[in-house]
Amino acid sequence: MLHLIVFSVFGLVCVAGAVNLLVQRHPIDSALSLVVVMGSLAVEYLLLGAEFVAAVQVIVYAGAIMVLFVFVIMLLNAGTEDRTKGSRVAMLFGIPGMLIGSVLVAWVLLEHSGTGRVAVGALPGPPKVIGWLLFHDFLLPFEVTSVLVLIAIMGAVVLASHPESVERGPTQQPKREG
C-alpha cells in the first residue's frame, strides 16, 4: 500500500513536471520541470530497487546534463518562445499520430500485460554487480560508448568554439598576459 502511495505521489509529480514542461513558455521553466521529472524518476527507480541507477540518474542527468541545458539557456539568454505557426503537418499528422500510438500502446499494456506485479526493491541493483556486468558481459558496448563520448567531447569543442579560433589553431593563439 505504502508502495502504491509513494509510487502514485512521485508518478504524479513526474507527470506534472512533464506537462509543465509542455505548458511553460520559457525554456528555463521547462528545464526546471524536467529536473523535477528526473528527480521523481530517481525515486521511482529507488522504489524498484535500482539504487545505483537512481543515484546516477540524479548525478548525471539532473546534476550534469540539465545543468548544461540551463547553462546554454543562460548563455544564449533565450527568451520566451513565440508561438509561430510554421508547421501544419505537426498539428495535422503528428499530434493525432502520437495520440493514436500512445492510446494503442496503453491499451495493449493494460489489457494484455497487466499481470506482473513488482514489490519494493524488486530487483536490487548494487553497484558491485552492475560494475561486474558492465566490465564483463557488456565490455564491448561499454568501450564503444566510451569512444562515442570521446568523439562527442571533441565534436562539441569544435562546434562550440569560435570559428576564428578554429582556423587559427590552438598553437597560434596569442599568449595572454598573465
Partner: protein, 346 residues
Amino acid sequence: MNLGEFTLVAIVKIVIAFIVLLTAVAYTVWLERKVVGHIQNRWGPTRVGPFGLLQPVADGLKFIFKEDLTPPHVYKPLYIAAPMIALIFALTSISVIPVGNWITVFGIHTPLEITDVNIGLLIVLGITSLGVYGVALAGWSSNSKYSLLGGLRASAQMVSYEISLGLSLVGVLIMAGSFSLRDIVDAQGGTFWGFIPRWNIFQGQIVAFFIYLMAAYAETNRIPFDLPEAETELVAGYHTEYSAMKFAMFFMAEYANMITVACLATILFLGGWHGPHRFGPPLLQAILPMFWFVAKIFAFLFLYIWVRGTLPRFRYDQLMAFGWKFLLPLAIANLVITALIVALRA
C-alpha cells in the same frame, strides 16, 4: 524497531543534526572572520560577547530583521526559489554523513547519522551536484549582468570540477570496495606498525586527497576559486541582487557546503572518527570518536580559511585550464594506478 519508534528516532536525529549544523555554520563564519583577522594582523570580531562569540547571533538577528528587498525586473519565481534551492540541498546532504559508530541510547540501537544507506557517497554527490542550480538560477533570475556572469561561471565551474571530484573519490572507493560511508570509515581502522594510522591519505591516496581538496574549493566557490562571486570584478557575483534573509540563505548554504565537504574529506581520507588508542573511562571512550571527527573537520575548515587568507584568486581561463588539463588527467592517472595496485595486491 517499529514504525513509530523509527519515526521518532529519525525526527530526533534530524533536529539534532540541523541544530548542530546551523550552529556549526554560524561559528564557522565567526572562525573565519577571526582567523582571517589574525592572518591580516587584525582582531576580528571582539565586541559582541567574549572574543566576539556572540557575533553570529547578532548577525542572524540582523539578517532576519532587515527589509526583504526584491528588485524590479527580476524573474520572480526563480529569484525567490534560488536561495531556497541552494540552502535545501546544502543542508540535505548532511543526512547521510555518519559522525560516529552505532550507539545505544535509551535502549535504542542506532547509528550516529540521520540514515545509514549503502550508497551514501553517491547520495552526497548527487545532492551537492544539484546545489549548483541555486547559484545558477540566482544569477540568471536576478536579471543583472554581474549576477548572470556569476551564475554562468558557477555552473561551468561546478560541472567541470565535479568530474575531478568524482574521479578522485573512485580511488578511495576501490580501496574500500563500498559506497557506504560507514564501510569506508571502517576500512580505515587500525595502524601500520602501531603508529601510522591506516587512513586513506596514508594508504597512497595523498594525490587523490590533493585533487579532492582543489575540486572541493572550486565546488564550494571558495578562494582561490571564488570566481562566481569575485567581488572585485562582479560586485558580489550571483548574489549581487540579494539581501536580507535570501542573502543569508546563500551565505549559510556556502558554509554548510564547506562543512559537508570537510565531513566527506574526513570520512574518505582522514579516517573518520578513528583516532589514537582509546583511553579513559567508558564515557570518554564513547565520546572520543566524535571528538576526533570534529577535530579533523575543524582542521580541514581551518585549512580552508587559511587558504582564503593567503592565496589570490585565479583568473577564469586559468581555473578552467587547471581543472581540465591538470586535475582531470591527474585524477585519471591516480585512478588507474590505484586500480592497478589493488588488482595486483588481490
